[in-house]
């Protein structure tokens, strides 16, 4: 059962990492236009170089 002393902190750390990433996506407003974002991926605009 010694392995728990490693596994539990690891799982907690991974959970916290996920939460932090979620906060990051939210702060960058990635949930404002779910429908548009899912369509934008299909267009070829700005495929060769990023939008200035």
């Amino acid at each position: 059962m010694e392995v728990l002393t490693i596994l539990i902190p690891v799982s907690l750390f991974l959970g916290a990492l996920g939460l932090v990433l979620f906060f990051w996506t939210m702060r960058h407003r990635q949930y404002e236009d779910p429908e548009g974002d899912s369509r934008r991926i299909l267009t070829s605009d700005w495929d060769d170089h990023p939008k200035p």
Binding site: L19, F23, M26, E32, T43, P50
Partner: protein, 733 residues
């Protein structure tokens, strides 16, 4: 990605919410710099990836436009441009690209940019979700047989994650339960809060005593599912509110007052009887009054439903809401403020609105039955087990907490929002915006549909009907004259000529004579386009404008009100659904009869005053009918408010839009029939969802009451019922 985040990263430099509220150095710097215009337009027709590129690239090509970004979820485009660019200048461009656009109030920007409540809810969902996953890992270990110190350790770790999570993520429920309690109401949030607090408290105690069962996972899961329901609810409402109520005002409550020859702009509320008001061409008359100076024509269609503009000269009585078409008018105020016809209409609306808010939705009715029942069950379980075990408080509280948790309001909390979200998404894709939470349920009960004519079943804009009867040379002259006039008939004629490839003749010295028409010189001789008596023609009994040619001949161009797209389909579809259809208009009997015959409406009324319309709706309601009113004008406003449910187009007057439950963004009226069908379906789904969650409770509650419920049972019942309910909502097509 990085392109999308570009403007946002600037805004989020100050990371904490408090700093965002305080004016940062960069914002002050921005204020000093010349301000750029941020315009928001609604584009209801956008629906695919190609639409995004067409609109964005089309707008970015225009001079002065810095960037355009389409939000397809909200069907909007946000344009950042130089200060001189206005929404009015962008709308024709979008029209040419094939996208109908409406301006949204700039004030909305601040509302949608900081949808704080929504983001807060999302944040809480995230916290609850991630805690739930971690606790579940530990719980599964306990369920599969961890014992003694291992189990206690897992319970302690779960508790350390769960307690802060419930305290943070459960706040919306605690707050609303507390508000309800202070107001003496026992809503749905009270049993939820009680379940959360009891489950957490009892679990801490059990863990302390190294007991077998801890409900930390149940408490967090409950929070998670309920927050999802709350978020869906919030999102539906936020989208509808920001778009429907903030469509830029068509009428500005301001007037130009003439004081000793000088013009000053004042609020309409400040006008007094006897004041002189100047109304420019294209402006709306702000008050009731009498014309003292100037001649023009008035568009009364929003007030009365008449398509034909009427002549206005000195001593003519005008009412608030009419639109001045061709020449400036000076009006002496005869009634202002409370006495004016506009404000009498507003009063009628207010009375009818207050009647409507008394409607209780299915969710509220369910909550009203649910809360007392749950409390009674849980409390009697506590009492019974206290008696049966001879005063074992720990066991009795355990049972009553398990009952509270397992009755699982999560399915109930999701039952309505999940369906409403699915339904309003469906309607939104068809260009309909729901403004009121109970609109779908009321729409589902409708058995009679009352249509207005002008602006609703018709476009309210005249279209020439006999262009083909005239020789090309006549059309050339007519096109040249009409193109220079601001009159709606002339503009429509000019547009039709352009569309037909007519090249305007060379007409010089064009001059508009307000109230009569337009004249100019062609090949050295005078030509006129305008009213029959002015050009010297015999007046026809249909809407027409007349062209006098140098050789003394007169050409008459006749017009008819164009049918709105989808008008035929909507009437047929509504009749096919077995609903009664009625047409009420303020227009002349001839025009109304023609339209009724074309659309196959047997029951029609013409020449109705605003009071008649509202009265007719009230009469139908009194005879036990549930009326859906579809209208756009000021004369429909009272009827819209009085009806059981109401729809108005986005082009309607604000008063009409405010009074209606659903705003139609597109030009096509056919989706109204779909709305009725979807509303009936979604109400059926909501009821089904209630039955599903009731069925789960019928199985799970007895198990909890006899003391056999384990945390595993609670978790299963809760997640299964929530998922079934959500899936059932998604079946809505």
């Amino acid at each position: 990605m990085s392109l999308a985040a570009e403007p946002e990263t600037r805004a989020s430099l100050s990371a904490c919410p408090a700093c965002v509220a305080a004016p940062s150095a960069e914002r002050i710097a921005q204020m000093a710099a010349p301000r750029e215009a941020r315009l928001m337009l609604s584009i209801p027709a956008a629906h695919c990836a190609a639409c995004i590129s067409t609109v964005e690239q089309g707008l970015e090509k225009l001079p002065g436009v810095r960037s355009a970004r389409v939000n397809l979820t909200l069907r909007r485009v946000l344009v950042e441009a130089d200060p001189q660019v206005t929404a009015a200048s962008l709308i024709p461009h979008l029209d040419r690209l094939g996208y109908e656009a409406h301006e949204l109030d700039a004030g909305v920007l601040s509302v949608t940019d900081t949808d704080r409540q929504g983001r807060e809810l999302l944040m809480r969902i995230g916290v609850a979700g991630f805690s739930m996953m971690n606790i579940m890992l530990l719980s599964v270990a306990v369920w599969s047989g961890a014992t003694d110190s291992t189990r206690d350790l897992f319970h302690w770790i779960s508790g350390m994650i769960a307690l802060p999570t419930v305290a943070f993520a459960g706040q919306p429920f605690f707050k609303s339960a507390w508000r309800g309690l202070r107001a003496g109401r026992l809503g749905m949030d009270f049993p939820i809060s009680l379940a959360l607090v009891l489950a957490s408290g009892i679990s801490v105690y059990e863990t302390w005593m190294s007991g077998h069962h801890a409900y930390f996972d149940a408490a967090v899961m409950l929070t998670f599912f309920l927050l999802i329901g709350r978020y869906l609810d919030h999102r539906t409402r936020a989208i509808a509110r920001s778009a429907a109520q903030e469509l830029a005002a068509l009428e500005v409550p301001r007037a130009i007052r003439l004081l000793a020859g000088a013009e000053e702009t004042v609020n309409v509320a400040e006008l007094r009887v006897g004041d002189l008001v100047l109304v420019r061409p294209g402006g709306r008359i702000p008050v009731d009054g009498v014309v003292t100076e100037g001649t023009s024509e008035l568009d009364r269609s929003l007030l009365t439903g008449e398509v034909l503009p009427v002549f206005a000269g000195p001593d003519r009585v005008v009412s608030a809401g009419e639109v001045n078409l061709t020449g400036p008018l000076t009006v002496r105020v005869t009634a202002a403020g409370k006495d004016s016809s506009l404000s009498r209409m507003a009063e009628l609306v207010a009375i009818a609105e207050s009647a409507k808010t008394r409607y209780t939705g299915l969710a509220d009715r369910a909550a009203r039955a649910y809360s007392p029942l749950v409390h009674l069950l849980s409390f009697s379980a506590f009492g019974y087990w206290m008696w049966a075990t001879g005063g074992d408080v720990r066991f009795a509280i355990n049972i009553s907490a398990a009952t509270l948790i397992i009755t699982c309001p999560c399915a109930l909390g999701l039952a309505v929002p999940a369906v409403v979200t699915a339904a309003s998404g469906q309607l939104f894709r068809r260009g309909l915006l729901i403004k009121s939470g109970t609109a779908l349920e009321r729409l589902a009960e409708v058995d009679t549909v009352v249509f207005d004519k002008t602006g609703t079943l018709t476009m309210g804009t005249p279209e020439p009907t006999n262009l083909g009867d005239h020789p090309r040379s006549v059309l050339d002259v007519a096109a040249a004259l009409a193109g220079a006039s601001g009159h709606p008939l002339a503009q429509s004629l000019a547009m039709a000529c352009r569309a037909g490839g007519v090249s305007p003749a060379d007409v010089t010295d064009l001059a508009e004579v307000p109230g009569y028409g337009i004249e100019g010189w062609h090949n050295g001789r005078r030509v006129r386009l305008g009213r029959a008596e002015w050009v010297g023609a015999q007046s026809l009994d249909v809407t027409a404008t007349y062209l006098a040619l140098p050789d003394g001949t007169v050409a008459a161009f006749t017009f008819a009100d164009a049918l709105r797209e989808g008008a035929v389909e909507v009437v047929a579809a509504v009749k096919a659904q077995g609903l009664a259809v009625k047409l009420i208009s303020g227009d002349a009997p001839g025009a109304v009869r023609d339209l009724a015959e074309r659309l196959g409406i047997a029951d029609w009324t013409a020449g109705a005053l605003p009071e008649d319309k509202a009265g007719e709706v009230a009469r139908l309601t009194a005879s036990g009918r549930r009326v859906l009113m579809v209208g756009d004008g000021l004369n429909d406003t009272a009827a819209l408010a009085a009806a059981h449910a109401s729809v108005s187009p986005a082009t309607a007057l604000d008063a009409a839009r405010v009074a209606s439950d659903i705003v139609m963004l597109g030009r096509n009226i056919a989706p109204v029939a779909d709305a009725l069908r979807i509303a009936r379906k979604s109400t059926r789904r909501i009821r089904e969802n209630f039955w599903i969650s009731a069925a789960y409770n019928v199985v799970a509650v007895p198990i909890a009451l006899v003391g056999l419920a384990t945390p595993l049972w609670a978790a299963l019942a809760m997640s299964l019922s929530s998922i079934t309910v959500a899936l059932n909502a998604l079946r809505l097509k």
